[in-house]
Symmetry: D2
Subunit: 380 residues, 4 copies
Amino acid sequence: MTTTDPTPATGAERTGAAPIPCPSVPAPDILRCASMELIVTDLKASRDFYVDLLGLVVTEEDENAIYLRTFEEFIHHNLILRQGPAPAVAAFSYRVRTPEDVDRAEAFFQELGCRTERRRDGFVRGVGDSVRVEDPLGFPCEFFHEVEHVERLAWRYELYGAGALVRLDHFNQVTPDVPRACRYMESLGFRITEDISDADGVEYAAWMRRKPTVHDTAMTGGSGPRMHHVAFATHEKHNIIYLCDKMGALRLSDRIERGPGRHGVSNAFYLYVLDPDGHRIEIYTQDYYTGDPDNPTVHWDVHDNQRRDWWGNPVVPSWYTEASTVLDLDGNPRQVADREEPSEMAVTIGADGFSYTREDDEDGRYRGEAAKGFKLGAQL
Amino acid sequence: MTTTDPTPATGAERTGAAPIPCPSVPAPDILRCASMELIVTDLKASRDFYVDLLGLVVTEEDENAIYLRTFEEFIHHNLILRQGPAPAVAAFSYRVRTPEDVDRAEAFFQELGCRTERRRDGFVRGVGDSVRVEDPLGFPCEFFHEVEHVERLAWRYELYGAGALVRLDHFNQVTPDVPRACRYMESLGFRITEDISDADGVEYAAWMRRKPTVHDTAMTGGSGPRMHHVAFATHEKHNIIYLCDKMGALRLSDRIERGPGRHGVSNAFYLYVLDPDGHRIEIYTQDYYTGDPDNPTVHWDVHDNQRRDWWGNPVVPSWYTEASTVLDLDGNPRQVADREEPSEMAVTIGADGFSYTREDDEDGRYRGEAAKGFKLGAQL
Amino acid sequence: MTTTDPTPATGAERTGAAPIPCPSVPAPDILRCASMELIVTDLKASRDFYVDLLGLVVTEEDENAIYLRTFEEFIHHNLILRQGPAPAVAAFSYRVRTPEDVDRAEAFFQELGCRTERRRDGFVRGVGDSVRVEDPLGFPCEFFHEVEHVERLAWRYELYGAGALVRLDHFNQVTPDVPRACRYMESLGFRITEDISDADGVEYAAWMRRKPTVHDTAMTGGSGPRMHHVAFATHEKHNIIYLCDKMGALRLSDRIERGPGRHGVSNAFYLYVLDPDGHRIEIYTQDYYTGDPDNPTVHWDVHDNQRRDWWGNPVVPSWYTEASTVLDLDGNPRQVADREEPSEMAVTIGADGFSYTREDDEDGRYRGEAAKGFKLGAQL
Amino acid sequence: MTTTDPTPATGAERTGAAPIPCPSVPAPDILRCASMELIVTDLKASRDFYVDLLGLVVTEEDENAIYLRTFEEFIHHNLILRQGPAPAVAAFSYRVRTPEDVDRAEAFFQELGCRTERRRDGFVRGVGDSVRVEDPLGFPCEFFHEVEHVERLAWRYELYGAGALVRLDHFNQVTPDVPRACRYMESLGFRITEDISDADGVEYAAWMRRKPTVHDTAMTGGSGPRMHHVAFATHEKHNIIYLCDKMGALRLSDRIERGPGRHGVSNAFYLYVLDPDGHRIEIYTQDYYTGDPDNPTVHWDVHDNQRRDWWGNPVVPSWYTEASTVLDLDGNPRQVADREEPSEMAVTIGADGFSYTREDDEDGRYRGEAAKGFKLGAQL
């Protein structure tokens, strides 16, 4: 782990894909990631998961869709569950600062040659004038400003469960070429806060933000475009532990995919769970302020075994390989392109992988079977 | 998980070893597990681990031994680290109610034909009249009442670290024949609170207590006699999480063997770490009161994947296979006998193992790759 | 704060009341405080308080009574709410080790000349053979062993609220003559763990236990017999804070009487709330193990401003003056006798009171208005 | 408690003081409150308080000054302690987005006719080009961009204490005319997030932010200019509770002025402590995101007894009346002007005060002495 001044992410663009040009028109002023629209195949089962298990608050619902929000939110929703034929993501939705920023978003993506669709009355309930785009990486993104205000339930403790989710924190997207994606996201106004790379300059993942947290979204190297996860924040770590305990009590422990643990990247406490369709949800708490323009970028060596779990607990392979399909603006699944560069899983786990706990550990301070500097090997 | 009235543990004695007779003399009135004497090979390295990392309090020390206690303790020590040639356990030490109970302990083990040694001035500093025995299972046990009182540091918050250990909670011992061990421990006055068995009546592990917690010690089936771990309690879960964070910061994450997690058995929150010699230490918090004579015994199916981790996180093989050598009263390592019955690891992990999250799960509530009802498979 | 070997509480009996003789028959072997029977005047309002607000679990209920238990309990109930004409306490109920201990309790109190009533089928649902007595201090006490087992909900996290109460911890009783009460309770098998007294030997309060926590009950000096409070335990401090937050959200903050805070006595984290009838409930967590026979007794100076709140926050006068009426075995309110010795409130608060933060503080380390060594004065 | 769209704070300017004009030049783009410079009279005693007790990290120090930072900070310092003849505040320091914003700050205050002083090498160590101003309210403010980067210790858990302070969160300033102050702060780019007022339109306090938390500073009505407090954030509530426990252990409980508790305003968990000179420090955690331009403003009725403590615990008078002197740019104490409008303390506490727990409470749900809808009365 090293830090640098906030220069662009260190990896070079290596794949055959042409760089994404930087538009001449100004980028929209994005406030924050605001909502995701998920396609689920059994709305009742998903309601059990998101409302009864995770405790998200229903703003409104009908037979086809449920609009959910977190306890500290004042806009209409942070998550839409929509009944559909196959699990997918219909929109990564960002809020912009002004109504005019919707115009800017439309112009920005039109200059990029992306398909865009503008609806003055919005695509979903509770949101007004919006533009949806198929972005250069193939993700369906939405930009809006007008939104229905609802009660911020922050003080309504009588409604809180023991694992209350208080904010939408971030998205995480899978894309084959991380440096290419970063350049594009930087042109859209995002800043890199942390990344994972190797000594050869291969970039495996990068975290980027608008609001001053570690991220509003991250680009994870892999076959894409796919949605890796969407993350909600709790106030404290015990809230996350409670969700694990509750999943055990409901005999759903096999839906806990990874964690709880402490991330190296972001320094946050985390948990990954899988919804009934296999969409991955992160529960997350306590990263740090990143709002200064010279906020140091944190670089992690892909071989550092504490980068993804500070305690060295193994990342399960499914976490690397599985992700959700994303849709185009017609609602059809996007084709995915494979990553050409090395995969983080391959270079760190298994016969050809390599990880360390203490780089250049020569001191022999610790003995015994488990002292190989890397825990996962002992489990395989 | 089922509960029964507090009958003896369900497994039958099956091995060739003769049952241990129940002495005709009264058993000593044991108050609680009180201390363990560990042999360590590098006293300085061990001090770094137990004092600087874990934050135990030094009562006294010299060049050969360090006497440590927890923050709520008022007797001289809960752990002795003694320099020696090879890692081992020299004593599992129990406090008894009265001075006469030391006599009773001596008579009890003499009737069993065990080797005993009585020292009126104690074997270690801070403890008076004591008897040490080689118990019928081959463990070196100590019984004492007289002890030097020291300051109970419960109110000395200025000395607490963020992961303060406040009590010695329990021992855990590896022995080949769990039912045989349970019969003997019951004759010594212990009561079974929980166990793990299978439909064929094989007993894999049993927890037993004197003080009204889930255990003062547990018998874990395996090659024995060996010491599996010794456990210290914190007040809250975040104290345990902090110790993980600190081990990450010190680049010692490879010494986190398992956890943190929630146990099924005991319902406690736990962490297992390894000291510089490979002795296993558990950090533990929040089990439940068991002091009523009809406290229900909790029985866990060995195939229940939530029995050892309520969240279904895998038990690493080293946790099943590794344990510390124990010494006889001359300080020589005890030979270990292998377990003849099936091992918990073999029946639950790997090619021939079998575990479930939901017994007889036919409902198909959850789809997708990770929905196999058992997480470990996905990692192998 | 000083500690001594576990000698009897330090205060002398000074009041005119004759000492309570020590019976010649053996005392019953009391396991623990087990339940309280409260008379409430509006069962629906009380249900809102204990079930909806505090989250206690209903074992059974009808139009006249509600039987409640905590999440880790396996006996039928820890609290009975019974509709009645005026707020009162009908029974302080203790569980004894064996059925024969009910006989012993009956004989013990008969030798003391106390009124007793035996019911082989119990006084309340879920409990069998019991004896109720009017004890020498005037309290209605119940002793039972037979009890219906119900599900221990410890693992049922899907039922836990954010402030889950997991155990009944203790009672607290108001009585005029604390030393006299202590002598009697010691004859019944209780041991003193902590007390508050002054340099003149006046005893203001004493804590005493059967199970190895700081107390099963406490004797608080004042007009009595009256019931000061009954306490339930949570796992962690944040559970207690949540209950405060919830009471704020329900606009019931005026029912938070005192706290949350850290006790000096017991070292536990606490909160006092008032039910709709004014019965005082404590929520409590994390005291320490006291089970050794030589557990040091902790003595607090009544003038030490940290004895009742370790952070020096003031004790509200109502906490000293208000308490619940107790009933005799006919259900009639007991007359109360006034305390003849000085009251803790009078000697510590107000014009004639005296408290210190630092005894003999001469060092002048801290300046300013609030540095008088005692916070309350600044508020009057 | 009601919410409105983010209109200006509701109170009108009523005092004789002329409104502060809105400059024609652009305001500097302020990132966040960044540091405070405190004058202390005994640097050693202050070091004991801020370093040994509160656990702030020393970036550098000499015989005259100590530069301190929090665990997640990467700029040189968040607090300067400087030896001086009398307790005071020398600077409220804000970081601006670019070097040019220092020029803008200088021009902004020059147009307001304020005294300014520019130093290209900074006024303090670790900070470059800065301007200090005597702002229109009489506060000494500093604006800088250039700053020395130091290690962000977020991952250095081995250095964390149990009460680790991770961020500077906000300032709080006392000024006679809150609406006048708000208008000025809005012209400087701040936004109001919450306020306290009454039905007559009197404004008692207002919270305002640049970074998207509830505040970077607040204006509290009273004799001013004075500094009310400076606040540092912890990750979790137990960190704050630990600081209380530690102050109890050090027999400094009389330096806990108020709390811990839950604020109504901001919804944060809080504690106020007093340093050796009487400077007030808040420890604070878990307010909410306010970064959207239409973030609803929360209005609190001054008579709502939960506005300053959600649990209704009383605000001690010293908290209302005491505050720190501020200096002019020559280092001389500023004269204070009295508030002409009603004081929050007078209208809510004591003989003429009025507060409620439940507005228009007619339902008589709760009985008894403490049920008067307002706790403080019972203590006076």
